[in-house]
């Protein structure tokens, strides 16, 4: 049994009296696609926000590759190789798709400030390098048509893909997707399933997705965790979890 890539160990998050997450223990294994399901308010996005340090855990530990990250400053998480998308798309609306993706490359450094100021040849080469890497993401996600378009005016489905691309551009080891299929039609959802599969298999990235769309979960998830009221309700293979009586009662319905 390989060591977990990410380990939330009895993590708790309380806002005053309200407990968003309590005694939460989740393991993410390397190379898997893990789906997190559950009713609204179960604490799924809170869990994601805890890992990415939008919130500070009030108890417990979060271990990434054995190292406790629960007290790290928020902006250092990406540098560890943890990327995410957002439930309500957080794109840079006033920039082009290309610029959004290039910003994904931020963690690889933009060169020393004086080189940027003077636009030295080495900096131009660095910019070309970033552009080349981003182009591979564009090709992977079929975004070529939209490359120079302003994100603000794009259709919803495309914006979701751009956000996925931006997360991929940051070269993560583990990718968190917050409701990636919400608002997508069945064709787009199928395409998303193929991409997630490729991300896991070809790119070797571990994927954790919070999702309500059970067809997507069944299609590609290796393992499913169901959360409710800030705790883990059940975990296992997709079939097992969906048949679990507690899960049916709390979320899926009969």
């Amino acid at each position: 049994m390989t060591a977990p890539l990410l380990h939330l160990d009895r993590v708790g998050l309380a806002f005053g009296g309200l407990k968003a997450v309590s005694d939460l223990t989740i393991e993410v294994r390397p190379g898997e696609v893990l789906a997190v399901i559950g009713p609204n308010g179960a604490g799924k996005t809170s869990m994601l926000n805890l890992v990415t340090r939008v919130f500070r855990a009030t108890s417990g530990q979060i271990l990434f590759k054995g190292r406790d990250i629960s007290r790290l400053p928020r902006q250092q998480i990406a540098h560890l190789g943890i990327a995410r998308t957002f439930q309500n798309i957080e794109l840079f609306d006033a920039a082009t798709v290309l610029d959004n993706l290039l910003l994904g490359r931020h963690r690889f450094g933009g060169g020393p400030w004086w080189a940027q100021l003077l636009r030295t040849p080495s900096l131009t080469r660095l910019e070309e390098e970033h552009r080349a890497r981003v182009e591979s993401v564009i090709e992977f996600l079929d975004l070529s048509v939209w490359r120079g378009a302003m994100v603000g005016g794009l259709p919803y489905g495309v914006r979701k893909v751009v956000e996925l691309g931006r997360a991929l551009a940051s070269g993560p080891e583990v990718l968190f997707l917050d409701e990636p299929a919400s608002g997508l039609n069945p064709e787009e959802t199928r395409r998303l399933a193929f991409w997630i599969d490729d991300i896991r298999t070809d790119l070797g990235i571990t994927v954790v997705m919070i999702e309500h769309d059970m067809s997507l979960v069944n299609a590609i998830a290796d393992r499913v965790i169901c959360m409710a009221q800030g705790r883990v309700l059940a975990q296992g293979s997709p079939a097992d979890v969906q048949a679990h009586p507690d899960v049916v009662a709390a979320y899926l319905g009969g």
């Binding site: 998480i77 540098h79 609306d93 933009g110 080349a132 940051s170």
Partner: protein, 358 residues
């Protein structure tokens, strides 16, 4: 129709990417260099003032247009740059040393404002910067030992490597050189990692954090950079005015700078320059206009400020992307001719949603 045939990535990030652009900007440069030959000394002086304001506007644009931090008090940094420069020269430092030093001092002041301002957003930031500007104006008046207080302070003569810059023409070329250098430097910064992180912070802080951008550092840095550039403009202004008093740096100057940046078009350096040109030439244009107005109206003071307000209102209501937006639309028209679509830039109807929970 214009098509780009690029074979290397670097061609797409080049500043001038078509022969036509090279020719046009080349001609512009030649025209700017030749201008003093054809204009009166007074007009050359006016142009120098416009150039100084271009620098100040670019400074504010970095902060408000590119990093999304409102500042309604940038006159404070102009003042700090001006007084710092005058004081340093009074201590005997040559202009070539005093000016960058003054810019650094202004930049440091920007940091002093920027660091506490990290947690302050939108409207609140507007008010903090406004209050800061008023406080600085008062402090300048009260700190008589350094600034000469309300009576004022004389500025030493401008001199660069032994050449006197006191003639309007010489100062014009100096100002032009500064504008070009600042513009190129900023253009380079803004198309690199630093510039991208500015716009990232502007458009979505949450996403910026998630991509590893140190938002606090970027904001503070943007404030410092913006203040330094504006301070540089202040130092130049010190020579242009010759005698510094606090009422050259009032709230009205802050608001003028904001007008330049907004009317010019937020998020573009071209906009900063266009806006600076429009706003600084406005008083001259209005004086020319006064001849056509009924005597009663033109006699009273107030027409200038009314027109400035009307121009701003016009742009906010009908051309929110500013002069730069208009430029881009015209360019898009020319480049896509004859396939330009009438509603290419149509704005969608939006409804007010509370920004209290931003």
């Amino acid at each position: 129709m214009r098509f780009d045939y690029h074979t290397r990535y670097r061609q797409s990030f080049a500043l001038l990417n078509s022969p036509a652009s090279w020719v046009l900007y080349g001609l512009l440069l030649v025209a700017l260099l030749a201008l003093p030959q054809f204009l009166s000394t007074y007009m050359v002086g006016e142009l120098s003032y416009v150039l100084i304001l271009c620098v100040a506007a670019m400074g504010l644009m970095v902060l408000t247009g590119f990093t999304g931090q409102i500042s309604l008090g940038h006159a404070a940094f102009v003042a700090i740059g001006a007084y710092a420069h005058a004081w340093l020269m009074a201590q005997g430092l040559p202009m070539i040393v005093a000016m960058p030093l003054a810019a650094l001092i202004a930049g440091f002041a920007g940091l002093v404002v920027g660091i506490p301002a990290i947690r302050v957003h939108g409207l609140y930031l507007a008010m903090v910067t406004l209050a800061f500007s008023v406080v600085v104006e008062q402090v300048i008046g009260l700190w008589r030992s350094v600034t000469g207080g309300f009576t004022g302070m004389l500025v030493a003569r401008a001199e660069l490597f032994g050449l006197s810059l006191t003639s309007p023409r010489a100062f014009y070329y100096f100002a032009l050189a500064v504008v070009v250098l600042v513009l190129l430097g900023l253009l380079n910064l803004l198309r690199s990692g630093i510039g991208r992180s500015f716009t990232g912070v502007r458009d979505s802080e949450a996403a910026a954090y998630a991509l590893g951008i140190d938002v606090a550092r970027v904001k503070a840095g943007a404030f410092a950079l913006s203040a330094a550039i504006t301070g540089l403009a202040g130092a130049m202004m010190a020579h242009h005015i010759g005698y510094l008093t606090p009422d050259a740096f009032t709230l009205l100057l802050s608001l003028d700078l904001v007008l330049m940046v907004v009317i010019g078009g937020l998020g573009s350096l071209r906009g900063a320059i266009l806006g600076a040109i429009l706003i600084s030439m406005l008083p001259n244009a209005i004086s020319a206009l006064k001849g056509f107005l009924p005597a009663a109206m033109s006699r009273q003071f107030g027409l200038e400020i009314f027109v400035a307000g009307a121009v701003l209102a016009f742009f906010v209501l009908f051309e929110p992307r500013g002069l730069n937006g208009r430029w881009l639309k015209i360019r898009a028209f020319l480049e896509s001719f004859p396939l330009y679509r009438r509603d290419m830039f149509r704005r969608q109807k939006t409804y007010m949603k509370s920004e209290r929970n931003r």
